[in-house]
């Protein structure tokens, strides 16, 4: 996750040349997200191609735990809202509010991971591994990579929470929160597509 943290470098304040009007950090994050879109699109392409070419493909509800998946969807959506609230509080210069919402976001991310862990371990107990079938390969790889992105988000958000003690009034702090938020919402959007693709179709 070096990319997410390191892009929060700043435009030299005295820079008075031509620019796009979007701050460096924000432009950098959007470019990063564009590449992430390509990454996850490739994974979805894989899913589509393998499913189209498969002799048979299980329906998600037969092999996966839909209620647990739905709860996780709620958790991630809620964490997206708390993230954007943390941004709103940072915008108001309300340190206490920011820290509360940011902690909540991180907490929800952990809830998501724990839920995922419960799901995974249930699969493993039933002797279902990525090598079991092509469906399981797709399921574990896609959710696993998404999970890595969630972990990345936790690291970024925790860093910001920690930094808020000292740097909250730094002129660039808000931009960093915004960047972390963009990333976190993107992780949410990926799940919004992953959930129906794997569980409901």
């Amino acid at each position: 996750m070096s990319s997410a943290t390191a892009v929060s470098e700043h435009t030299p304040v005295h820079h008075s040349g031509e620019s796009t009007g979007v701050t460096n950090a924000k432009l950098g994050i959007w470019l990063f997200l564009a590449s992430e879109i390509m990454l996850f699109s490739t994974l979805f392409t894989t899913y589509i191609v393998l499913r189209l070419g498969a002799a048979s493909w299980p329906r998600g509800w037969d092999v996966l735990n839909v209620p647990l998946g739905m709860i996780n969807t709620f958790v991630l959506i809620t964490s997206s809202v708390t993230m954007v609230m943390a941004y709103a509080k940072a915008h108001e210069k309300n340190l206490k509010g920011f820290q509360t919402y940011m902690s909540l976001t991180i907490f929800l991310a952990f809830v998501f991971l724990i839920n995922k862990g419960i799901e995974y371990s249930a699969h493993f107990r039933h002797n279902e591994f990525p090598s079991t079938s092509i469906f399981h390969a797709v399921y574990f790889t896609l959710t696993g990579l998404h999970g890595l992105h969630v972990i990345g988000g936790i690291i970024v958000n925790s860093t910001l929470l920690y930094l808020s003690k000292t740097d909250f009034d730094h002129p660039l702090f808000l931009g960093r929160v915004e960047g972390a938020g963009l990333y976190w919402h993107f992780v949410d959007i990926v799940w919004i597509f992953l959930f129906p693709a794997l569980y409901l179709l």
């Binding site: 990319s3 470098e9 040349g17 470019l31 590449s35 990454l39 894989t46 090598s131 790889t141």
Partner: protein, 576 residues
């Protein structure tokens, strides 16, 4: 080696050099590292060329040193040959040309040309270099790791890549290299969009910067699919999934354990979705360098600035929709082939437009045949040959016969070696005075140029003849197939020229390191160039520019009427 010469020059410590966030230091690190990797990749090829010229005879000298598992009695094994081939391709593309053109020249020159103090994200820049260096070293070290180096070609087609040893390290190294490129691409794009000097509108950017912008977009959007595809291949190898493995594989009489259900062609689609844009990543920076050098040495504006920039953008977009012309005979839908045939022919249009614009730039000029100019000029016919021979390969029907023969080897090597690499070397001669405040020796440079040009043609031209005779590529023993026996003598010719090509790099290496401390001292703008990179001291200090920079006009205002000099720097107002 990289830090050695810097020590003598600026008395910098190892630490401050390898961990500097200055784009110029990182750029030079990239250039020197990439040149080293190029040399490594080239030497691997020399070993292969011995086997091709004299199949089954012991390799001189090296044969005695290599372990018996690689070369019993000094004769290389087929597996070792395949490993050399795979690593040659990977190193040259991902560790040689791309880091040289993008990481090296892009890093050093781009911020200077737009009038920036540094990259937008200097620490990210450093991280990008370290990912590249470590990925590269991991890739190289796979030769001595258990399992050996990858031996499934640089294209790593599954299922072969999944059952062959050595591939895991290749995949890990690739993921690191891809990460490096992605970080670099983000940095380049933010820098060139946001850090331009006052007055440096997009329409005033030097073509080199445009080339870097298009290249960065290609890297940014084409590399993630390969990253994902590599992760899937890694899963196939480590977690025994079967993304690329169909059901019921029987390998050497043994049933394979994978559950099946995968698609071997999926990898090819995802791989070429990257690897075709990658071709333009190899090419565009070279074209950018050529436009800088040509404008400077003809003493007139480049012909058709808008045409060239427009064509580069068109190439950038079209590069994403031509990938499957590498798959005409792969078993892909024959109807889809027709679609990709059409897009492939369309992409040749902007390439021709760029080449014609370069040629027309010569008309009316006052051409100075400086060393960099020789390299830039040679790029034109060489790229021409490479491009023209792409025609029968891009055409579905003729590709049936020519696919996977030496013809294609000749074709893409013409694009990359006497094309791109020659232009990049021209770039070294051109910007060397900026890096060190001294010029490289002209006589040695001209020797280097002519010998390299002749030898490169000697190596690659015979391949067209071999390809037309039907000689298959990636053959350990070219004599094994009857139809390639008559053209076998051409392998000897190629190999001899490859050896000579190696020798002809010696003047360059000597010239490079000698000139750092002993070259002729020159001023800040020895080529009398107009772009901003020549408006700062040589070598530029930290922060680059000693005075505030403001841009008044386009990049190539040479030979304006009524001026004292025949060049008008971008940062100086032209008084009518």
């Amino acid at each position: 080696m990289a830090h050695e010469h810097q020590d003598s020059q600026a008395h910098k410590s190892f630490y401050s050099y390898f961990f500097s966030t200055d784009h110029k230091v990182i750029g030079l690190l990239y250039i020197v590292t990439a040149l080293m990797f190029l040399l490594c990749g080239f030497m691997l090829m020399l070993v292969m060329r011995w086997q091709l010229a004299f199949p089954g005879s012991p390799i001189p000298l090296l044969g005695r040193i290599l372990s018996p598992s690689l070369a019993p009695n000094g004769v290389m094994t087929p597996d070792f040959y395949n490993a050399l081939g795979a690593m040659h391709g990977t190193i040259m593309v991902f560790l040689g040309i791309v880091p040289l053109g993008v990481g090296g020249f892009g890093n050093y020159v781009l911020p200077l040309q737009i009038g920036a103090e540094d990259m937008a994200f200097p620490r990210l820049n450093l991280a990008s270099y370290w990912f590249f260096l470590l990925g590269g070293l991991l890739m190289l070290s796979s030769f001595i790791l258990p399992g050996g180096a990858a031996q499934s070609g640089w294209t790593s087609y599954p299922p072969l890549a999944i059952i062959n040893p050595g591939q895991t390290v290749w995949l890990f190294a690739m993921v690191m290299l891809i990460t490096s490129s992605l970080l670099g691409a983000i940095n380049f794009l933010v820098t060139s969009f946001n850090l331009r000097a006052q007055g440096m509108k997009l329409s005033r950017l030097p073509i080199f910067v445009w080339a870097q912008i298009v290249t960065a977009f290609l890297l940014l959007l084409a590399f993630p699919p390969l990253e994902a595809a590599s992760v899937l291949q890694l899963m196939d190898r480590i977690a025994h999934t079967s993304f690329y493995l169909p059901q019921g594989l029987v390998i050497l009489g043994m049933r394979h354990i994978a559950s099946g259900g995968g698609q071997p062609l999926l990898w090819q689609h995802l791989f070429w979705f990257l690897a075709h844009p990658e071709v333009y990543v190899l090419l565009l920076p070279a074209m950018g360098i050529v436009s800088e050098i040509i404008a400077n040495n003809t003493r007139k504006p480049i012909h058709g600035y808008n045409v060239i920039v427009g064509s580069m953008i068109a190439i950038g977009i079209l590069a994403f929709v031509v990938w499957a012309h590498h798959m005409f005979i792969s078993g892909m839908s024959a109807v889809l082939s027709d679609f990709f045939l059409v897009t492939t022919m369309i992409i040749s249009v902007p390439s021709v437009a760029i080449l014609t614009s370069f040629v027309f730039s010569l008309r009316g000029g006052s051409i100075r045949f400086t060393t960099p100019m020789l390299f830039a000029l040679a790029f034109l016919p060489m790229f021409g040959i490479g491009g023209l021979t792409g025609l029968p390969l891009g055409l579905t029907v003729t590709d049936i016969y020519l696919h996977d023969t030496y013809y294609i080897i000749g074709h893409f090597h013409y694009i990359v070696v006497p094309g791109s690499l020659l232009a990049l070397m021209g770039g070294v001669y051109y910007w060397f005075p900026k890096w060190f405040g001294r010029k490289m020796d002209d006589t040695l440079g001209k020797w280097h140029f002519w010998t390299s040009l002749i030898c490169m043609n000697g190596v690659f031209f015979p391949m067209f003849i071999q390809g037309l005779a039907g000689q298959d590529r990636r053959y350990y023993d070219p004599m094994a197939a009857l139809h390639s026996v008559p053209t076998q003598p051409l392998h000897v010719v190629s190999s001899a020229f490859a050896g000579l090509l190696f020798l002809s790099q010696i003047p360059f290496i000597y010239n490079f390191f000698h000139s750092i401390s002993h070259g002729e001292k020159v001023g800040d703008n020895p080529w009398q160039a107009t772009t901003l990179d020549w408006a700062c001291p040589s070598p530029p200090p930290h922060g680059n520019f000693t005075k505030p920079i403001r841009v008044y006009h386009g990049p190539y205002e040479y030979s304006l009427a009524g001026q004292k000099t025949d060049w008008a720097p971008q940062n100086e107002e032209v008084l009518a």
